[in-house]
């Protein structure tokens, strides 16, 4: 989230897309209800299903799954056609006036820079015109200004086109567009709320960017009650993304180095943003080296010196994407030997479960660390598998639960909250970090004894803990914070980090959370005393826990005020310039605290980007500088915008590339659109071990639209077989009006709903069907997030 849960109550309008917070984030949903009840905020729910979120919304728009780019595109077009954008904000805080190079082109669904052989775009082909001063040329009236190119790009997204693609009827769309258009007024603010479902498409990144573009046009980024707010689905997915359990990053969103980068200079040149405007602070780009060097000093200590480029050679340089799908693709190709899983079950969670089971069978070894057995620890005896044929060695290690260890969880709003160890470890269970630390120590001992391939990083890694096999999370929290190596004192903020090897920081965005005064994530000054604990009255509660970065509660909050530092809406202040004290007041400013905005050279508002502004046009994505609607890989229609380039041309098709048989179906065999989702009573798969929750939601089912059920003679409670090109489920049907038919490009289209929670492990093992047996093994071009939410199936009564 750019903002945070409690902040949502400041919104005048809430667009909720690809999410069902009333059921999936029920307690967070109270803040949307409070916006509605306390300030008369309007709620628009745009989703294939009518859910409990829709039930309390002012309007539910039934949308065909995977078409939100067209919906947002239609809204962007409406705003631009009717001159409803927040003009002052757009000029001040976006790159609308930047001029794009003449080579930019978009024709029939293709952007310039496409490499036919590799099926990728050269993203550097989408670039700004650079002036003699070395900065981007700016002229908002230029025919190739970002704003004018954007107008042209989106002019195709008329209400008629939106209806043909999404199924949202024109009148309904226009009713919502009118409400959205009002949000460009400075005294109005809108929030966009989404969950992982919006990312589960081959156009996932562009779905999210579409929302961000709309928010920038309306001047809603950086403002209380505004922003782009991702409701995250696991307790600490945010914290462990921040700490980079992800192939493409190092802690604090530093890029993983790439082959060919010989030293830190090369790495910085290719990874850090360049300053593109004279008044851009380019804070991230300008300080990238400090963050990387401080990380390398944390990891390699005295072995990281200026002379050896701070052990930059130790960092692995991946050949290509190494995310989820790539792991299992490598296993299918026989290239992956071992897999370690912790609190995550590959068999259930990934797309195309049958293919994943094959991948697991190809491994030499698998280690599962978990409190409960999982569909992965037990994969070798999945009902259709003969264990004697599975040659994978499997180790199952009993791990402790959240409640048996301390440490912090970072929530969707970036609030890091410390929790205490409440219970001792159950039985023989051990903490994950003890397991990992001890295994590492044993591997290190083996390298010492036997030698082996490139042992240096294994031998040199600094393990500064009292017991190297049993580190305390408090010790690790201090390491993450970092310190000054000369004074030995922990640092109070990332501004103090240096690139000369005299500071450490395990994750620069968390520097300052644990200064010498103590662990700030433990703070508990909450609503027991609002007058004292929430001095601005805006709900920041600065002394409840700690939020990254720098305890800032709303990201980009400089944009909540105009160029002179006056809040766009004095009733909802993010930060404002106080000329008397010469400081910014309010939230922790996302800006230099004493920079006078009246000075002509004062920094531009978005201090983290090279432009100094928010980006309406960006070459940071693999599939286009502007979002474009492409059909899901499996779709019932050809793309009405450009039928010859129907799906994205840059999705990586693993099976095709590896020479495996095609696993995508067509609407001739699989005529119905399907989407998958969670229920309130379950959290992915672990809750199959919780009695009360299994009692509340005991059995797998699919939701079938009433009209389709009538055609097929299916009644609620009947057993049905739902199949895709990849697999099948045989479960009960729930016939419902929650999923109605849509007319898509003149064709009647039904959508079937598939809750994801069941499998062959848990209290009720008769429910052994895996929902992801149906889903396709393909992902977004930039992020490779799988397309769980839009695919084709057939349904038959059994």
């Amino acid at each position: 989230m750019t903002n945070h849960w409690r902040d949502i109550r400041h919104a005048d309008l809430m667009l909720i897309n690809g999410a069902n917070p009333a059921e999936a984030h029920p307690v967070g949903f109270q803040w949307m209800m409070r916006a509605k009840i306390e300030r008369g905020g309007k709620m628009i729910h745009t989703d294939p299903r009518f859910t409990r979120t829709s039930a309390v919304s002012d309007k539910h728009l039934r949308i065909r799954t995977g078409t939100d780019v067209a919906y947002f595109g239609g809204l962007i077009n409406y705003v631009l056609q009717n001159n409803l954008e927040h003009k002052e904000y757009v000029r001040f805080a976006t790159n609308a006036s930047f001029v794009i190079k003449e080579s930019y082109n978009f024709t029939d669904g293709m952007f310039n820079g496409f490499d036919e052989a590799k099926k990728v775009y050269d993203t550097t082909a989408w670039a700004y015109e650079i002036g003699p001063d070395g900065f981007a040329v700016q002229d908002i009236d230029h025919p190739r200004s970002v704003l004018n190119l954007m107008r042209a790009h989106y002019s195709r997204y008329t209400p008629e086109m939106v209806e043909r693609i999404t199924g949202i009827q024109r009148a309904d769309f226009l009713e919502v567009a009118k409400l959205v258009g009002e949000m460009g007024r400075p005294d109005k603010v809108m929030t966009i709320i989404y969950a992982v479902g919006l990312t589960h498409h081959t156009t996932g990144v562009q779905l999210i960017r579409s929302g961000a573009l709309l928010q920038l046009l309306l001047g809603n980024m950086g403002r209380p009650g505004g922003g782009m707010n991702a409701e995250r689905g696991h307790a600490n997915i945010q914290g462990n993304t921040d700490h980079a359990i992800s192939w493409d990053i190092l802690p604090g969103y530093l890029r993983i180095p790439a082959p060919g980068q010989k030293n830190i200079d090369d790495y910085i040149a290719r990874s850090a943003a360049k300053k593109l405007h004279a008044n851009s602070l380019n804070f991230f780009g300008a300080n990238y080296r400090k963050f990387l060097v401080s990380l390398l000093k944390s990891w390699y200590g005295d072995a990281a010196t200026a002379a050896n480029d701070f052990a930059f050679a130790h960092l692995p340089k991946p050949a290509s994407d190494a995310s989820w799908l790539s792991i299992f693709d490598a296993a299918l190709r026989g290239k992956m030997e071992g897999l370690m899983l912790s609190g995550m079950t590959a068999t259930s969670i990934g797309p195309d479960s049958n293919q994943v089971l094959q991948a697991l069978s190809n491994l030499k070894w698998l280690c599962v660390m978990d409190a409960y057995s999982t569909t992965s620890s037990e994969f070798w005896r999945e009902p259709s598998i003969d264990p004697s044929k599975v040659q994978t060695e499997v180790i199952l290690l009993p791990a402790t639960h959240w409640i048996e260890k301390d440490g912090s969880f970072t929530n969707s709003g970036r609030w890091a909250q410390w929790k205490e160890a409440v219970l001792p470890p159950e039985g023989e269970a051990r903490h994950d970090h003890w397991i990992l630390a001890e295994v590492f120590d044993r591997v290190r001992a083996l390298y010492k004894e036997q030698g082996g391939k490139y042992p240096e990083p294994v031998l040199q890694l600094v393990m500064p803990y009292k017991d190297v096999r049993r580190p305390e999370l408090d010790e690790i929290a201090k390491e993450i914070n970092g310190k000054d190596l000369i004074t030995g004192q922990r640092l109070t903020g990332f501004a103090l980090l240096k690139d000369d090897g005299t500071t450490t920081a395990g994750d620069w965005i968390y520097t300052g959370h644990y200064p010498e005064s103590g662990n700030l994530t433990k703070r508990r000054d909450g609503i027991q005393d609002p007058a004292k604990n929430d001095p601005t009255g805006m709900g920041y509660y600065p002394n409840w826990a700690w939020s990254w970065p720098a305890n800032r509660r709303v990201l980009y909050n400089r944009a909540s005020a105009d160029s002179l530092g006056r809040p766009w809406d004095p009733k909802r202040v993010g930060i404002q310039w106080d000329a008397v004290t010469g400081r910014w007041t309010g939230d922790v400013p996302d800006y230099p605290a004493t920079a006078d905005p009246a000075k002509p050279d004062s920094p531009l508002p978005f201090i983290m980007t090279g432009e100094g502004t928010g980006r309406l046009f960006s070459n940071g994505v693999a599939d286009g500088p502007f979002p474009e609607h492409y059909e899901p890989i499996e779709s019932p229609i050809d793309n009405p915008l450009h039928p010859k380039v129907s799906a994205t041309p840059v999705a990586f098709k693993y099976d095709e590339r590896a020479g495996r048989p095609n696993r995508f179906g067509t609407s001739a065999d699989y005529p119905y659109v399907a989407t998958s989702y969670r229920l309130t009573e379950h959290e992915h798969y672990v809750t199959q071990h919780v009695d009360q929750l299994v009692a509340l939601q005991p059995e797998a089912f699919v939701e079938v639209p009433a009209e389709l059920a009538k055609e097929k003679g299916i009644a609620t409670g009947d057993r049905v077989r739902v199949s895709s090109k990849r697999g099948k489920l045989e479960v009960r049907a729930v016939v419902t009006a929650r999923l109605g038919p849509l007319t898509i490009d003149g064709k009647k289209v039904y959508q079937i709903g598939i809750p994801i929670h069941w499998g062959f492990v848990g209290i009720n093992t008769s429910q052994h069907w895996l929902a992801n047996a149906l889903t396709p093994f393909v992902g977004d071009a930039s992020s490779r997030t799988p397309e769980f939410k839009a695919f084709l199936v057939n349904i038959e009564k059994m």
Partner: protein, 197 residues
């Protein structure tokens, strides 16, 4: 942690949390306020209260966990409920958070390290020493077999291509950081958690 002194204000909040519009586990469909209040009073009397956070979704609802040390020295978890001071949840919990006690204490936990040999039909119970030794040897062997120091273009890449690590959304942040630090030092490039799936 501190001894519980349940004030009247807290009691009211506890009652409200149990049956709030959005929170509370009341599948029976009738108002349990009175019954819950009385029962909770007995359950948590003399207990120790600790602060925790819900293990399920990333709303990050703050929890109060009440424990008691029994005569045999075992710590018993009596009750989990929403923390009324939290600016995030204001004491409320959804059915998952409200039943978190059953995730915490369960007969279904994995009792000890288990080992399944290639082709075997059953698990074998093994010691921690055996399990961690096997795992360490597997990692070393796979790392040595699949480590690439220089790629086909002559670039120094120092990566291990044959082992993947996935998980972490249930880790404390500090555990996640340690996982990244250790796995990267082993040269892993395949690193993933639940952010994409």
């Amino acid at each position: 942690m501190s001894e519980v002194e349940v004030s009247r204000r807290q009691f009211l909040q506890i009652g409200a949390a149990g049956t709030g519009v959005l929170g509370g586990l009341s599948p029976l469909g009738f108002d349990l306020t009175q019954a819950i209040t009385v029962k909770q009073k007995l359950r948590i009397e003399g207990a120790t209260v600790s602060h925790s956070v819900c293990p399920y979704c990333a709303v990050g609802c703050a929890l109060l966990a009440y424990t008691k040390k029994n005569a045999d020295g075992k710590v018993e978890l009596l009750q989990i409920e929403g923390d009324p001071d939290s600016p995030v949840n204001e004491g409320r919990l959804c059915p998952k958070g409200a039943s978190a006690l059953q995730l915490a204490v369960s007969r279904r936990r994995v009792p000890s390290p288990m080992y399944r040999e290639p082709g075997a039909k059953e698990w074998k119970t093994v010691s921690w020493d055996f399990a961690l030794d096997r795992l360490a040897r597997n990692i070393k062997a796979s790392r040595d077999r699949t480590f690439v120091t220089t790629d086909a273009n002559g670039n120094l890449v120092n990566r291990c291509e044959g082992i993947a690590f996935a998980g972490g959304a249930a880790f404390s942040s500090e555990e996640g950081y340690l996982a990244t630090k250790l796995m990267r030092s082993l040269g892993y490039v395949y690193l993933e958690q639940q952010a994409r799936v």
